[in-house]
C-alpha cells in the first residue's frame, strides 16, 4: 500500500476517534447533564472529526497535485540538452524518465532488488530495460545513463517530498484532533462552528462549477499557446487549407473546417427548425390533451437517444439510402451519379436535424405557452382565425424566445461530435455541394487526439486551438441565446 493511502486511512481513523472522544468529553464535562451543553453532543463529535480530517485532507490534496509538477520541473532542469535529439522532445524524455522511475519503484516493491541495490544501478552493467520488463514495466528504448540518472533523481525527490508530506500532514491532523477534543466543553458553541464548516463545504462545491470552466479554458489556452508558438496564427485563422502531415510542415487552417461545420449545422437547422416549430405550434395551439399526452413524450424520446445511435443511423441507414437516390448512376433511383459515398453533408445534416427536432420543439413549446392567453383571446375576438392569431400575434410575441431556442439548437449542432464523426466524412474543403463529404471542427479534434499523439507537434496541439475556438463559438451563442430567452421571459412574468 502506498504512503498516501496509509496516510488517508490514518487520518480517517483519527477523525472517527475524535468524533467519539469529543462527544463523550462534552457530556462528561457537563457532568452528564446534556441540558448544560450549548449544542447537541453530535455537534461536538462532528466538530472534532471535521477539524481532524478536513484541513489535513485538503493540504494532502493540494500536495498531491503540486508535488509532481515541482519535482518534474526540478528534474527537467537537470536533463542535459543533448538528450533531446531529432524527433524527440522534452515531453517524451520526461515520460521516459517517469516510466523508468515508476518501474524501479515496482522493482523495489516486488523485492527483485533492494532499495540500495537500485540506487547503485548502472546502465553499463545491467540491462535496465530487461530488468523493468521483468516486473511488467515497459520502456520504449534502451535506457540511457542520463535518463537513469534523472530517474534516480526523480525518485529521490519524490521520496523526500513524500516524507515532508507525512511530516507536515500528520501533525496537522493531530493538532486538529487535540484542539477540537479539548474544546469540547459545555460553553463551546459547537453547532455554529460545524455549520460554518458545512457552509464552507457547500461554497466549495458550488465553486467547482467555476473551477471546471477555468480548467476548460486554461487547459486549452496553454496548449493553444504552445501551438501558436509552433504554427503561425495567421495561417490557422486565415489560411485556406487543412492538410495535416505528421512529418511536419502541415497546413492547419480552421477555415475549411469552419465551413464544413457551419454548412452541416445549417442543413440540420433547415430540417429541425420548421419541423420543430410547427410541431410546437400544433401541440400547444391545436392538439387536444390526448394527442399532446401521446405525441409530446414520443417526440422527446428523440432527444434522449444517445448521439452514437444517430451516428450509426447516419452511416448505415441514411447515408446508403441517399446514395440509392442520388448515386449509383443508372441503377440509382434518379439515375444520376452525384453522390459516391454514404458520408456527406446531407447525411450528417439530416440526421442531426432529426436529433434537434425535440430540442427546438420543446423549447418553443415552453415559449409559446408563456404568451399570455389574453393576447390570443383579443385576436380571436376580433375575428381572426386561429392560424392568423398564431402568425400575427402569438409568433411575433414569442419571436425573441424562438430565436433564442434556434441559437441554442445551433450551438448544439456546432458542438455535436458523433454524428459528424460517423456521417460527415474526413475531407476538408470548400464546396457548396451537399452530397460531398466534408469535415468539421469536432471530427478533426477527435482524429488529431486519438491514436498516437505527440504533444510536442503542431498536428496534435492544433486540436486544442480548435477546441478553444469551438468553446468560444458555442459559449458566445449560448450567452446570446440565454440573454434573449431571459429578457423575453421577464416581459410577461
Amino acid at each position: 500500500m502506498s504512503t498516501t493511502s496509509l496516510l488517508v486511512i490514518a487520518i480517517l481513523i483519527l477523525a472517527t476517534l475524535g468524533y467519539f472522544l469529543a462527544s463523550k468529553r462534552a457530556i462528561s464535562t457537563a457532568g452528564g447533564d446534556r441540558r448544560k451543553l450549548h449544542s447537541l453532543p453530535v455537534y461536538y463529535g462532528s466538530n472534532a472529526a471535521m477539524f481532524t480530517a478536513i484541513p489535513a485532507l485538503g493540504v494532502l490534496l493540494i500536495w498531491l497535485l503540486a508535488q509532481p509538477m515541482l519535482v518534474e520541473q526540478n528534474v527537467l532542469s537537470t536533463i542535459p540538452d543533448k538528450l533531446i535529439t531529432e524527433g524527440s522532445s522534452i515531453g517524451l524524455v520526461m515520460s521516459d524518465v517517469r516510466r523508468v522511475a515508476d518501474g524501479l519503484e515496482v522493482v523495489v516493491s516486488t523485492g527483485t532488488l533492494s532499495q540500495n541495490e537500485t540506487l547503485k544501478l548502472d546502465t553499463e552493467q545491467t540491462d535496465i530495460r530487461a530488468l523493468l520488463a521483468g516486473v511488467g514495466a515497459v520502456v520504449g528504448s534502451d535506457v540511457l545513463p542520463e535518463v537513469l540518472e534523472a530517474a534516480q533523481n526523480y525518485r529521490a525527490q519524490t521520496k523526500t517530498g513524500q516524507l515532508w508530506m507525512v511530516l507536515i500532514i500528520a501533525p496537522l491532523a493531530l493538532i486538529g484532533f487535540a484542539l477540537s477534543v479539548l474544546a469540547a466543553k459545555p460553553t463551546f458553541r459547537a453547532r455554529n462552528t460545524v455549520e460554518r464548516g458545512i457552509l464552507a463545504l457547500l461554497v466549495f462545491a458550488a465553486s467547482l462549477a467555476i473551477l471546471t470552466t477555468i480548467g476548460i479554458v486554461f487547459s486549452m489556452l496553454f496548449e493553444s499557446i504552445n501551438f501558436f508558438k509552433l504554427h503561425s496564427w495567421t495561417d490557422f485563422f486565415f489560411g485556406g487549407s487543412w492538410a495535416p502531415n505528421f512529418r511536419g510542415d502541415s497546413d492547419l487552417s480552421i477555415l475549411p473546417l469552419l465551413w464544413g461545420t457551419i454548412y452541416i449545422s445549417i442543413t440540420a437547422l433547415i430540417v429541425a427548425v420548421p419541423v420543430g416549430l410547427f410541431a410546437a405550434i400544433y401541440l400547444s395551439e391545436y392538439a387536444g390533451p390526448r394527442v399532446r399526452a401521446f405525441a409530446k413524450p414520443l417526440l422527446e424520446i428523440l432527444a434522449g437517444i444517445p448521439t452514437i445511435v444517430y451516428g450509426l443511423f447516419a452511416l448505415l441507414t441514411v447515408g446508403p439510402a441517399l446514395v440509392r437516390v442520388f448515386g449509383r448512376g443508372e441503377e440509382g433511383l434518379l439515375g444520376v451519379e452525384w453522390m459516391s459515398g454514404a458520408t456527406a453533408v446531407l447525411t450528417a445534416g439530416l440526421v442531426m436535424g432529426i436529433m434537434l427536432i425535440p430540442f427546438v420543439s420543446s423549447l418553443s413549446d415552453d415559449i409559446i405557452n408563456a404568451v399570455p392567453q389574453s393576447l390570443r383571446d383579443g385576436s380571436l375576438g376580433l375575428g381572426a382565425t386561429p392560424s392568423e392569431t398564431i402568425r400575427q400575434v402569438v409568433l411575433p410575441a414569442a419571436l425573441p424566445g424562438i430565436v433564442g431556442a434556434v441559437l441554442l439548437a445551433a450551438s448544439r449542432a456546432i458542438g455535436e461530435t458523433m454524428i459528424v464523426v460517423l456521417g460527415a466524412g474526413a475531407i476538408a474543403k470548400f464546396s457548396a455541394n451537399p452530397l460531398e463529404a466534408m469535415t468539421t471542427i469536432t471530427t478533426r479534434i477527435v482524429s488529431q487526439l486519438t491514436g498516437d499523439t505527440d504533444f510536442a507537434s503542431p498536428e496534435t496541439l492544433v486540436a486544442f486551438a480548435l477546441g478553444l475556438t469551438l468553446f468560444v463559438l458555442t459559449l458566445g451563442l449560448n450567452v446570446i441565446a440565454l440573454y434573449i430567452v431571459r429578457k423575453y421571459r421577464e416581459q410577461y412574468d
Partner: protein, 447 residues
Amino acid sequence: MTDAIQKPEKKKSSLLQLDARTRTRNAAEKRFKAYGMIAIAFGLLMLSILVFNIVTRGAGAYQQTFVALEVELLAGKLDKKGNRDLDDIKKISTFGYTPLLSNALEAKIIELGIETDLKAKKMVGILSKSAAAQVRDYVLNNPNKIGETIGFEFLASSRVDGYLKGRVSRDSIGNDKNISPAQLDLVDALKAEGCLAKRFNMSFITGSDASDARPEAAGMGTSMIGSFFMMLVVLVLALPIGVAASIYLEEFAPKNWITDIIEVNISNLAAVPSIVFGILGLAVFINYMHLPNSAPLVGGLVLTLMTLPTIIISTRASLKAVPPSIRDAALGVGASKMQSVFHHVLPLAAPGILTGTIIGLAQALGETAPLLLIGMVGFIASNPPDSIATGLLSPNSAMPAQIYEWAKRADPAFYERAWGGIIILLVFLVTINTIAVILRRRFERRW
C-alpha cells in the same frame, strides 16, 4: 358617410354562403393546421424508422450460428511424450489444434455422406478462428481427457453466420477470400443434417470484444462493466457535489455578483459541447495528473464534470418546489438555518433530486465523444476486471465507445454487433428513465 349610402353593395354577403375571401382564409387555416400535423408525423415517422432499424438490424447479433462436432483429442498430436505434463501440453499452440478440427469435420462429412471436393484446410474455414483456441482451453483445463472424443459446439465464421442470416449471399461473395461457394454448399448440407444451426447467443451479452478477424466472437459484457464503473464514479461524485452546490445556491447564497457569475456559469456549462469536456479530461487528468489512459476512473471523472450542471439545475428546481412554509416552521421552532435545510427541506426534495440524478446518469451513460479523447477506444477490451481497483484503473471500454469501435471496423458483421449493442444500451436507458418516471409519479408531492 354619404358615400356608403349612395353606393349600393356590389355583392350581397350572406351568413349561409361563404365568400371567396372567407374561403381562402379557411383554406389557409386548414393548410396551417396540416403543416403542424405533418411536422409531428415527420418526427414520429423518423422515430419509428430509427427504432425499426435498430431492432431489425440489431436482432441478428443475438442469434449466432454454431457447428456441433465431435473432436477426437489425439494424444499423438497434443501430448507427444505421453506424460500428461501440463507444461508440455501448453507448448502446443492453437495451430497444432487445427488438424484436429479438420479431422473432426471430415469425419462428420463422411458420416453424413456429404459430397464435397473441398480440401480439409478450406473446410475448417467455415469455423470461427476461435474454434482452435476453444479446444485448446478445454484441453488445458482437462488434460486427462486427451485421447477421448469430446462433443464441441463451435462458432461458425462470420461469413457463414451472415449466410444463414441472409447478410451474405452467393452473389455478394465474388471477391471474398474468406469464403467460397463450395464452402457454402457444405454449409447448406450441414444445415440440412442439423449439425449447423442458429441459436440464441448469450456470449454477445456477457462476452468481451474480439479482434478484427473474429466478429462472431465479439460481445458487450466487458464494456458493460466499464460503463458500470464509470457510472459508479459519476454517482459517487456528482450526486453529493451537485446537491451541495445546489443547496448553497438555492438556500444560502447571498444575491451578489459572485453568485450571479456562478449561476450564469452553470447554465453555460450545461450547454458546452461534450467533446470540450473530453479535451479537459485529456489535458488535466491524463497529461497533467498522469492517471492511466482508458481507465473508467478518468471516464467517470470527465462524465461527472459533464453531468454536474444537469444535476445542479434539476436539484435547484426541486429545492425551489419545497414551499417556504416548511422552512419557516422549522426556523420557528428553533432550528438553525442549516438544520431546517438538512432536516426538513432536503428530505422533501429528495425524490426530485433522485429523479434528476438518474436522468443525468442516463445522459452520461450514452455519451461517447469525451470517451474517444481519453482513449477508451482503439483497443480490444478483452479481460473483465477482477476487483474494484482494477475495474476503475485498468483500461476498459464503455458501451457507447464499444459501439463506435465496431462501427469503425467497416465489416457488416461488426455493424450487426453495433446495432445489437445499441439495443442493450437503449434497454438500459429505457430502464433508467422508467425508474425515474416511476419515482416521480410515486413520490411527487404537490403543495
